[in-house]
Symmetry: C2
Subunit: 283 residues, 2 copies
């Protein structure tokens, strides 16, 4: 029976179990991740964020003293990046005295991410560019047979953003489909977006391989970029533009520009010791 | 921001957050319970088990030194008893050094419960009598339009036990209905049971007001009692009979007799401090 120090936290209700592995000697098996994320037999979370010094990660070529976010999905698979996860990761590093803010660099499988803790405790993350790929040539169809002209946006991962009068009424109990199929050969995250006010959007999201979630960081950036590209009458300005995006799990702010920034809450709700079952400890 | 010591545990994957309140000075509001049980914004659990000395509970008339299990459902409502919860409650009292086993009395809103910790760590709970009320006059119908002659069993709460070839194929995504309606004016927990071997049953359960769950302690007792009353050729014996009941979350043992006993696992998976949001602390 091994005991691991852990924390649990969430960013707009995308929730994570956080583990610090300063010696890089505790790589996680897929079974251990699945147990930790099991919402009844374990702690429960969408994923695990293991903090390891970059120098302990064989694939890391950057500063060895940067904390690397070893992000694992709840099913044990490896993921590259997660905009909500990075915020919670930084909040936990700060709370644990492992970094000093307000500026914190985070290593991820998608490269280094610059973050900045705001005076109100929210965390801002540089998400890289949001690139509108196709505008108007993709049709997304939801389970209730509604059809939308979607905007394809690349934020490091693929998104199809559809505009609608009210995202609340759309059936996301089953995966949306799209046409032409080859627009997203590796699948797509589908956002459904409406306007709430000037530069203020509401969004629901169906994440590929997961289902509807309470929030998706890259999805909010894609939604703002798609809206701005298609609906905004403004153009030619060099100024960064700010959007507020409401998701079921809360509200984030997106800044569009050469690099996009995502700012949102990061909350630690508990910390303590988890008690790994013997069967998983021998691994 | 207040911090509370907590543990999380489960009995056959019916999971709980445990709080010890030795001074009886921390009654929980419904909002606090809902936050604790929120699987994304809080810790996440089916319910909260608050341990309070009986003498601190105004309604308790028994031994003031018995630990009272103040059991709250995830929606904040008050519940009387929970067979899986009592096991996890006793395990936590033992681990915390608050009681000495193997025999532990637990106060509940349904009266005192006798428990006994087994050499293998499982916990046995006296559940009171299981009374077969109606045999064959109730029809239960599932969402996939299957109809069953159900056995009505009272284990302190109402159950309708249906026998089937394979519980795995039954659609429990929506609540079953029953006829006549007046058989269960306050609703009913519906079990679907098949035989796996001699005195060995498999069961799925739809709990009233909740939906399908991984396990239901009183439901396993009801299932064994109903099976024994209808299907067993044995009768007239005074000996207690033992059934093994497999549920999706694990396996328990039921002993039928003048009083029924439920024996099953109780696992603590984590303990630590939870950080109550300021908005809930002022309550």
């Amino acid at each position: 029976m091994r005991r691991w120090t852990f924390a649990k936290g969430h960013g707009t209700e995308n929730d994570f179990v956080l583990l610090v592995d300063a010696g890089g000697e505790r790589p996680l098996t897929a079974e251990q991740v699945r147990w930790i994320c099991d919402r009844r037999a374990g702690i429960g979370a969408d994923g695990v964020l293991r903090a390891v010094p970059g120098g302990q990660m064989p694939q890391w070529r950057g500063d060895p003293d940067v904390w690397f976010m070893d992000y694992r999905n709840g099913d044990g698979s490896i993921a590259e990046m997660c905009g909500n996860g990075v915020r919670v990761f930084v909040r936990h590093l700060l709370d644990s005295g492992l970094v000093v803010g307000p500026e914190v660099l985070v290593g991820t499988r998608a490269g280094v991410r610059e973050t900045e803790v705001q005076p109100d405790g929210q965390v801002r993350v540089a998400m890289g560019p949001a690139r509108v790929v196709v505008n108007g040539e993709v049709v997304v169809r939801t389970a209730d047979e509604r059809a939308f002209d979607a905007v394809a946006v690349d934020v490091g991962n693929p998104h199809a953003v559809s505009f609608c009068a009210d995202p609340r009424v759309i059936d996301l109990s089953r995966p949306p489909t799209w046409h032409p199929e080859q627009a997203f050969p590796a699948g797509v995250n589908a956002e459904f977006v409406s306007r709430r006010g000037p530069r203020h959007l509401a969004m629901r999201v169906f994440e590929r391989g997961v289902g509807e979630t309470r929030s998706c960081g890259t999805g909010t950036v894609a939604a703002a970029a798609a809206w701005h590209a298609r609906e905004s009458s403004e153009s030619g300005t060099e100024e960064p533009v700010h959007y507020r995006v409401d998701v079921p799990g809360g509200t984030v702010e997106v800044q569009l520009g050469a690099t996009s920034y995502l700012t949102g809450p990061a909350v630690i709700v508990a910390h303590g010791e988890l008690i790994l079952p013997d069967a998983l400890d021998a691994q």
